[in-house]
């Protein structure tokens, strides 16, 4: 069945998963309307999850035929949000083959997300999934533990038959309570903290962390940076934090086994480095959006990305691709007067790099002479299912090498 190259194809634009912990999202605003032309990378909607508000990009080209989900509606990950009519047949996910008219497409052989009205019986779980352990979302797993429900025994109504928090609550009889009006909107900070809690619990439950640390002489790199900044206007100055990101990006080449995801019982190394940066939000909350393709960026580009990410994180303007794609995370507590941080890995990532606050310390130079140096403690927490201490040490050593030759960091 070959479609002619000029045939129109209708595709569904789906609620994306903006992180391993996301089950559903609320449309805050549409940036498109029927008739809008979209191309790959365009921001088409603003979505709120339990964790953050963010901007969602589209990865199709075409014309918007119909908006399926209105502003204010909360829907599960995988729910069709809009229909896009495209002339190019080579694309992500055809909706209804051979159907040009923007009618609501027949669902693919997967269960409809829970948010949509009840169907007589959910279709069977996709065959591909029956071979594997049932997918239970992290939130659902946590709630199941709290309520004493065997989550694996349930029938999932989430995308691809995943068992969601709602399935667990329903099974626990929580749904027997009279259907109340929607609960008062939980405090956003509390809700964000619950998301972090679920993710960190999962991390500590599933990931056998090992920890390494090294005290690094930061003085040569700082002196180099200071001299470089001196001739620049304030808007082009680079912070030590960006220098450390650059050193990490270079060091990853020496230890590719800390960059990627551990999923379905196996490690998948990532060819690209999407470097998550932990950002503390004002009034509490933590978010770790990614600098995409960080290893392709120069020091100045990394600094620009860092500034941009920080500003948008606080304004709730992060993009979906930034929230879901980190392959390695850095947490920098350089402003907090702590010596070091032993961080918790963000699943499904397999490592997190930490930096403490650079501080003036007594040090011995190569000849054994006592001197004062600015020392920064670099730490690595990594997944022992994937790498071991020796490889982790190679990575930290590579960071040290990078910092001792700062002119190569530009």
């Amino acid at each position: 069945m070959v479609e002619s190259a000029s045939a129109e194809a209708t595709r569904e634009f789906l609620m994306p998963s903006l992180g391993a912990d996301m089950e559903e999202g609320t449309i805050l605003a549409w940036r498109i309307a029927p008739g809008s032309r979209v191309s790959r990378g365009d921001i088409v909607a603003e979505v709120e999850t339990e964790k953050a508000e963010m901007e969602v990009e589209i990865f199709d080209e075409g014309v918007v035929a119909r908006i399926l989900v209105e502003v204010g509606q909360k829907v599960a990950v995988g729910t069709p949000l809009a229909l896009i009519v495209s002339r190019s047949p080579a694309a992500s996910r055809p909706a209804t083959p051979q159907t040009a008219a923007p009618t609501p497409p027949t669902p693919e052989p997967r269960p409809r997300p829970a948010a949509v009205e009840a169907k007589p019986a959910p279709p069977p779980v996709a065959p591909a999934l029956t071979r594997e352990r049932k997918r239970v979302t992290p939130l659902a797993r946590r709630i199941a533990e709290e309520l004493g429900v065997n989550a694996e025994a349930l029938r999932g109504t989430g995308p691809s038959g995943a068992i969601t928090a709602d399935d667990v609550r329903a099974a626990a009889g929580a749904a027997q309570q009279p259907a109340l009006a929607p609960a008062p909107a939980p405090d956003r900070e509390a809700s964000r903290q619950r998301v972090i809690a679920a993710l960190m619990e999962r991390s500590k439950r599933e990931i056998p962390h090992y920890y390494l640390g090294a005290s690094l002489d930061f003085s040569p790199a700082l002196a180099w940076l200071e001299a470089r900044n001196r001739s620049r206007p304030v808007s082009e100055r680079v912070l030590p934090a960006a220098l450390l990101l650059r050193a990490v990006a270079l060091a990853v080449r020496a230890a590719p086994e800390i960059n990627g995801h551990y999923q379905d019982g196996a490690f998948h190394a990532s060819p690209a480095l999407h470097l998550g940066v932990a950002i503390a939000l004002r009034g509490g909350g933590l978010i770790a959006p990614a600098i995409l393709d960080a290893s392709e960026k120069s020091l100045d580009e990394l600094m620009r990305s860092l500034r941009d990410l920080g500003a948008r994180a606080r304004a709730g303007k992060l993009r979906a691709s930034e929230m879901s794609s980190s392959t390695l995370t850095v947490t920098n507590l350089g402003d907090n007067a702590v010596d070091f941080v032993q961080a918790v890995i963000y699943p499904p990532q397999v490592a997190i790099v930490g930096f403490g606050t650079p501080a003036l310390r007594p040090w011995l130079d190569r000849e054994g002479g006592l001197c004062a140096r600015t020392i920064v403690q670099a730490t690595l927490a990594a997944d022992h299912r994937v790498s071991n201490g020796h490889r982790g040490a190679v990575f930290l050593k590579a960071i040290e090498r990078a910092l001792l030759a700062p002119e190569r960091l530009a």
Binding site: P233, V234, R282, R307, G310
Partner: protein, 81 residues
């Protein structure tokens, strides 16, 4: 720019990074970053805004002279004439 005007401008700019802070209640002679709980990235962004608004570019070597609200207002007033 008078020192009062400089202080008002600084409060407006830094207030963007610390929206919940009541500038009337902070100690103008104590470390500004600490009192506002802002990091080096926010601080840099605030100085970029100061540069855009006043043309005054604070070099890194002068950061010690703009560490408190009082000192920063004085610094700015002196350089804007």
């Amino acid at each position: 720019m008078t020192k009062d005007a400089a202080r008002a401008l600084l409060e407006e700019i830094f207030g963007r990074f610390a929206p919940e802070v009541d500038f009337g209640a902070i100690d103008a002679a104590a470390d500004l970053r600490e009192q506002l709980d802002i990091d080096s990235l926010d601080f840099l962004n605030a100085l970029i805004a100061v540069h855009e608004r006043t043309g005054v570019d604070v070099p890194e070597s002068d950061y010690a002279q703009v560490a408190t609200l009082d000192a920063a207002a004085e610094y700015l007033a002196a350089r804007t004439g």
